[in-house]
């Protein structure tokens, strides 16, 4: 195949109509929040926990995409080059997550028991060397500093290649990706401990970080799918063909199974060992969040597993995007289950207007930032050495 046979991507223009829609979505989220705070006067912990949950979800979409891009770069894979700019731009939203986290900072004492040191219990006292505010903040800042640096630096390398292609481009991209993966491997786990596991302060599980990572990865794949389908549909990137969707579908399928594998590994070992210190985590969820507990498994594993099994399912844009939406909601529920039982407690936690409405604000913010960044560069990295390969392949 020659380069000219690949349909040209149209430089994206962030139109007014789209902005209006995003504005409406954001307004819905804000109204839900204001309603929750002033009209319904929901318990403080529930509000703070929701802000925390959405900040995490916002971050995960970008971080997962950045991981996806870098790991594909390291694997010398090519299929993703056509949609690489989507992943790049998603990665650039990472630093803005700081804002959303910081908004929730005043409520940290509602979320994390270990923050108010005056009445630390015996078990938490043993952990103060790790779980203390200054160190926690240092970690918070360093995670974001590192991730942001890599997101922007990798983007810079990639965009620079559009204008002045260099021979060492791939080498540089790869070595930087390598560094990022090393840092990500550590920070993805530790951040999950810091921001999620320590909500249930007494509880511990070695697998937890990897489990959270797998959920994040699946969630961001579903967003990549949704954006790809939309860009294809609205002719912004006609270069996306059904092979790319097929591959994205495979990732969604495969990593949904991987997520379920980690879920069951953690659950089964704790269930089998039957040590009260560990089982408490699941007892709380099975007893008091019974419906969601099973919905989580169904929506995040059974549904994509059955729905994406056939070849046709992965190649049909509309069908694929419906599955992606369901899985995305599923991983929101997964995070909900990770946060709420510990931070809010079953007496006060519920799914109401706040839980349903608030994500729209964050989604709109995410899309707004994404589109702003996407607009800034060419929609496809044409000078990437593997670019033609990326349009010229077939799934068996």
């Amino acid at each position: 195949m020659e380069k000219q046979n690949i349909p040209d991507a149209v430089p994206f223009k962030f139109g007014k109509k789209l902005k209006t829609w995003l504005g409406i979505a954001a307004a819905v989220g804000l109204i839900a929040l204001l309603w929750g705070v002033f009209i319904a006067q929901l318990p403080a912990s529930r509000i703070w926990a929701n802000l925390w949950l959405n900040a995490l979800m916002f971050l995960f979409l970008g971080l997962g995409a950045l991981f996806f891009w870098t790991v594909n770069t390291l694997g010398e894979s090519t299929w993703q080059i056509n949609i690489q700019r989507i992943m790049e731009s998603m990665g650039l939203t990472i630093p803005f997550a700081i804002l959303f986290f910081v908004i929730a900072f005043p409520g940290l004492k509602h979320l994390f028991e270990w923050t108010h040191t005056e009445h630390l219990d015996e078990i938490l006292q043993k952990k103060t060397a790790y779980l203390n505010m200054p160190f926690w903040l240092i970690r918070f800042v360093s995670y974001f500093a590192l991730w942001t640096f890599f997101a922007f630096y990798l983007r810079k390398i990639s965009v620079k290649n559009d204008f002045e292609p260099r021979d060492n481009f791939l080498k540089k991209l790869r070595s930087t990706s390598g560094w990022f993966i090393v840092i990500f491997a550590i920070t993805s786990s530790t951040s999950a401990w810091d921001w999620l596991m320590s909500i249930d302060g007494h509880w511990f599980s070695t697998l937890y970080g990897w489990y959270i990572f797998s959920g994040m990865f699946v969630a961001s794949i579903s967003v990549i799918i949704l954006i790809s389908v939309a860009f294809k549909r609205f002719n912004i990137m006609p270069n996306i063909n059904s092979e790319h969707l097929h591959d994205l579908g495979k990732y969604l399928f495969g990593f949904s199974i991987f997520w379920a594998y980690l879920w069951i590994s953690q659950y089964l070992l704790i269930w089998y060992g039957n040590i009260p210190e560990e089982t408490i985590y699941y007892v709380e969820r099975v007893d008091n969040f019974n419906t969601l507990f099973y919905v989580n498994m169904t929506v995040n594993f059974l549904f994509p597993f059955l729905a994406l099994m056939t070849r046709g399912a992965k190649r049909q844009p509309l069908y694929l995007s419906v599955i992606a939406i369901v899985v995305l909601i599923g991983h929101y529920i997964d995070l909900y289950l990770a946060i709420m039982p510990g931070a809010v407690g079953h007496e006060q936690a519920a799914i109401g207007l706040l839980e349903i409405g608030l994500p729209f604000f964050y989604l709109a913010a995410f899309l707004l930032l994404f589109l702003v960044f996407f607009e800034k560069a060419k929609p496809v990295p044409e000078n990437h050495p593997y670019f033609i390969e990326s349009s010229d392949y077939e799934n068996i």
Binding site: I264, Y267, Y272
Partner: protein, 173 residues
């Protein structure tokens, strides 16, 4: 007695062109034999997608279901035993064996289906026309059976595509 006409190419791209050429002339191709799966040949020959994945799916479904139900039966009806205070019907415990049986039966049902469907198996004697097909010959086989052309016409048509060493034999079937 029906005649079979065959010839070969040493490059798979020539083969693909020849296949298209023959099809444009309305000649039906009895078989193409190659040393490795040639990319694009399935489409050129308009082969239907294989049903083997479905066999695997059904096999896996049967394996998994039987595996799970057997375990459930053993622990609720067959001989319920108390292991470490766990409930008799402890589903998480049954997942590993269920999974393994799903994979086992799915894989083997598909493997066996493949052999049966392709008429391959221990003791199967193939009708090899050219031993180099497993080396570097890409062979096209035409048959009088499904074409209205005579033997000589088929030989000419095949030779016209650039096939080397076009031969014909009279096959029994």
């Amino acid at each position: 007695m029906r005649a079979i006409v065959y010839g070969y190419f040493t490059d798979e791209l020539d083969l693909l062109n020849a296949v298209k050429e023959l099809q444009n002339k309305g000649i039906r191709i009895a078989d193409v034999r190659t040393p490795f799966p040639v990319h694009g040949l399935d489409a050129a020959l308009k082969l239907r997608r294989s049903h083997l994945p479905k066999v695997a799916f059904v096999g896996g479904l049967i394996g998994g279901t039987l595996g799970l139900f057997f375990q459930v039966w053993v622990f609720t009806k067959g001989w319920p035993l108390n292991f470490g205070g766990k409930p008799f019907l402890s589903l998480p415990s049954f997942i590993p064996v269920t999974f393994e049986l799903t994979v086992l039966i799915a894989a083997f049902s598909m493997g066996i289906a493949f052999l049966l469907r392709s008429n391959l198996g221990p003791g199967s004697i193939p009708d090899i026309l050219d031993e180099e097909v497993t080396d570097d010959h890409f062979q096209i086989i035409l048959s009088e059976k499904n074409n209205n052309l005579s033997e000589t016409e088929l030989v000419e048509a095949l030779a016209a595509t650039g096939a080397l060493d076009v031969k014909h034999v009279n096959a029994e079937k």
